[in-house]
């Protein structure tokens, strides 16, 4: 028994009574963890903590992706970075530091955007842990993970295609940790309502009747910049740009007798700064990493499936089992679409483009059915080959029931559409 892992081996090598199904304690489990391919998305406040937590839980093969470079304002919590690291890519420095301090773990950094990675890159990982700070990024990864799901004709999920994710988020003293087993627990899209909408101000308030310092700042940010510095793209990390923004906002506020515009507030409003501290990040990341350990090894019962945390008034947590949306556009076996029995493939595609549910999500959809391409928009060779299908009836192409896979440049993953035909005679065996 390796003395180093003594404490965690109590969990991994001993049978337990409050464990998950399929738990097989033994020394092989730690070896399994060592090779387990896990991806951490983000090497910032949550990411740094997650890398440490996962490495100190026995994960030996960790990839980390982050598109940012290190900034001074990161140093109050992103403990892997020092003053002399400012300007360097977060993923690279984080990977180096973890490997320096924790022997035996391999951390492979990827400096770049998550969108620039091929879908096959994500398929390789057995588990994805998210330390992100935006809805869009979470949405993107969620779509990718859910696109790996394979359902059979009866809408039953092939469990081996589940790509588990653990997602953490923090803001000041608050945060959440959740386990997403696509197709099983709600995916990110199923519970989009959990995220409150962004604060926006009516235009007339900004332009004519400002009342708060934020109104003055947003006016300069959204209206005045475009007028006074036409053509120039506003860069919040450019001190000259930010100073101009602040000074103009202050002038405007003075005009209206509004007090309270400061440089700090200007930055906060314009950059949508989220206050952040080490402790909340540490707590949420550790909860997430522990769940990753449990998912990989079954060594204890798992979080089912969402835990929120608040540390402002005492400590308050709430753990709830949310249910997935059975007609979720991203993770369900298929979004129901009803069509007439006589519809052609072309007409079907036109209908999809007009469907309010898919508004802004489709531009040039390609359609396939159980692995067969019905119509491909690209490449040109495939397009030409499948073009004749457009005039065929959809019914003849797919039979009387089934799920179509719709792909589109605008979609990160795949859109599954469950087709129901009306005005069709009793279906005959095909």
């Amino acid at each position: 028994m390796e003395a180093r892992w003594r404490d965690i081996d109590f969990l991994l090598q001993r049978p337990g009574k409050l464990v998950s199904d399929g738990f097989e304690p033994g020394p092989e489990l730690r070896e399994f963890l060592r090779d387990f391919k896990i991806l951490v998305i983000g090497a910032g406040g949550l990411g740094c903590e997650m890398l440490k937590d996962l490495a100190l839980s026995g994960f030996g093969n960790i990839d980390v992706i982050d598109m940012d470079t290190i900034d001074v304002s990161n140093l109050n919590r992103q403990f892997l970075f020092r003053m002399h690291d400012v300007g360097k890519p977060k993923a690279q420095v984080a990977a180096e530091k973890i490997m320096q301090r924790i022997k035996g773990v391999t951390v492979t950094p990827h400096y770049g955007r998550i969108e620039d990675k091929d879908i096959e890159f994500y398929r390789e990982f057995q588990l994805i842990v998210l330390g992100l700070d935006s809805l869009e990024a979470r949405s993107y990864i969620n779509s990718i993970a859910c696109s790996f799901l394979e359902y059979n004709e009866d809408g039953e999920l092939d469990m081996s295609t589940i790509k588990p994710m653990v997602d953490g988020g923090t803001e000041g003293f608050k945060g959440h940790a959740r386990v997403i087993l696509p197709g099983f627990t709600p995916c990110f899209h199923c519970t989009l309502w959990l995220f409150p909408p962004q604060v926006t101000y009516p235009l007339c308030t900004l332009a004519e009747t400002p009342r708060s310092p934020a109104h003055c700042i947003e006016y300069v940010h959204l209206i005045q910049w475009g007028q006074d510095r036409e053509g120039e793209s506003f860069n919040p990390d450019n001190p000259e740009h930010m100073t101009w923004m602040y000074e103009q906002a202050l002038k405007r506020a003075e005009q209206f007798n509004i007090s309270g515009v400061t440089y700090s507030l200007t930055q906060g409003v314009v950059k949508n700064i989220i206050p952040a501290i080490a402790s909340t990040n540490a707590i949420v990341s550790a909860i997430c990493s522990l769940e990753a350990l449990k998912l990989a090894t079954m060594c204890s019962k798992g979080l089912d499936n969402y835990m929120m945390y608040s540390g402002t008034q005492g400590v308050y947590t709430h753990t709830v089992s949310y249910e997935k949306d059975s007609s979720c556009m991203v993770c369900s076996p298929g979004v129901p679409v009803e069509v007439d029995g006589s519809i052609t493939l072309q007409e079907f595609i036109d209908m999809l483009l007009l469907d309010a549910r898919f508004k802004d999500k489709l531009s040039k959809p390609s359609v396939s059915f159980q692995g067969t391409n019905l119509y491909m928009q690209a490449p040109p060779v495939l397009e030409e080959m499948t073009r004749p299908n457009l005039q065929s009836s959809l019914l003849s192409l797919m039979g009387s029931k089934g799920v179509l896979n719709v792909n589109d440049r605008k979609l990160a993953g795949v859109l599954r559409v469950q087709v129901a035909f009306r005005n069709v005679a009793t279906p005959m065996a095909v």
Binding site: E2, A3, R4, R6, D7, I8, F10, L11, G16, K17, E49, K52, D53, L56, S57, S73, L75, N76, R77, F79, R82, M83, I102, F173, A177, T205, T209, R211, S212, F256, N257, I258, S264, Q267, G268, I273, I274, P275, A276, I277, A278, S279, T280, A282, I283, A286, I287, S289, E291, S300, K301, L303, M307, G311, T312, Q313, G314, V315, T317, T319
Partner: protein
Amino acid sequence: MAHANGGSGDEQKKAAAAAATRSNKYDRQLRIWGEHGQGALEQASVCLLNCGATGSEALKNLVLGGIGNVTAVDGGLVHESDLGNNFLLSAENLGQPRAKSMAALLQEMNDSVLIDHIDASPESLLDSDPGFFARFTLVIATQMRDRSLVILDEVCRRFSVMLLVARSYGLTGYVRISLREHAVIESKPDNTVSDLRLHRPWPELTTFVEEFNLETEDSLVHKHIPFAIILLKVCEEWRSKHGGALPSTTKERSEFKSLVASKKQAQDEDNYKEAVAAASKVWSPPSLSSEVKAILEDGAADVDSSSSDFWILVAALKRFVASEGGGEFPLDGAIPDMHSFTEYYILLQRCYQAKAESDVSAVEAHVRSILSQLGRDPDSISRAAIKHFCKNSRNLRVLRYRSLAEELGLKEVGAKLQKYLPFEGDNTNYAIYLMFRAVDRFAEEFGRFPGAMADETVEEDAAKVGAIAHKLAGEIGLDGGVSEELVYEFCRFGGGEIHCVGAVVGGIASQEAIKLVTKQFTPTAGTLIYNAISSTTTIFQL
């Protein structure tokens, strides 16, 4: 001050640059607790007992946040097993003192923090030099057992040092503050309800409202009257028709809302929409929380010359409420945004701020008078402090904690624990509380934690600690006891410190420490149990 040479100019530049770096570095947290909070952190002196995973994590978060100075105390040497759960200890530290080794990497994380270490066990310090603890603002005691904690608690109370106990044990955790009294002015509740006093406008507000005419033919003006003014005017109208009373029955309230809506002249008048939506503020003004009411009634509010500034302020507040306030607290002065012309809004805002200011003056007079009566310097509490207090008066909090000795000896703990949970289950968190007590008793008897030896001993130890837990349950009047599965799991844990659990417990401990030191937000009023199996927490007020 004359600058005779370029040298001091350079120094000034350096100082300015350092200050800019500091505010940049702490920007994301300054937005939460402000410069005054950061200042409190930088003045604080923290002692950490035991540098295992839990302690290291707690300290790491405080060091990153810029705590003033820390002293790490640990009597052990770095073992192989530390490398598997502690980020702050690495292979080159093997065999060296733990406290000293941890201090080195910790310093790298923030060179503004003064870091010291004592290579001795907390128990030996308690024994040989309890006065050592007197110099600290806060002691964070990790991975210590009940017997030593009781002694430590008594020492800390003797020297008025705050104590924070944090333990992680396998997949469970425990956090508990212990001190006599902690008063919070800036509790910063998540949801603040603005105090518009629509039900009780003061004379200056009434005069201001008279300038406005809801029947005005100027449509631009009409749709830019702030909703508070609309409601105040409609209140006046209502009162004149109802013998001075405000709407009280459901029917009347509905009629009142219709009356407000009837003042609308055009469809796009957002201010009238806001007024209808806010109408309930007229009959449901923000009420005082039970916590604040209890503070006013607290015995400590009967001040004497040894009373703290906080209680002097509470005594003054009481006098204000009974006289100038006419039953009301000092006005906060903040108003929510309202659809309105800038000018109207600013003037309305000034009206509220002026009233708030005048309430502060009234409270100030009481403060000075009370201080004089007590034979203390009447100017010893500044107006700024009084104003700060008044602004936050609706959200005051006072926390008091029973001593650990008292809690351990309490026969009614069982009944208190059971109150919390209406159901039985494998992971009920009160059972975890009991198990923490039980494993400490086991350790007293057998010199180790259950399951800490070879795997084969788990079953045997489970039987022994299960019997201890059962006996303990009987002593504290807890029906039902602990489930067999949970007892078994506690033995399975072998008393080990799992990094992730240490990070959660240490993280919570560091957050509680920040709240205690900055005196902002509300610390946890009780014993927190963290259950990493079910991913839940429960706070027991014992």
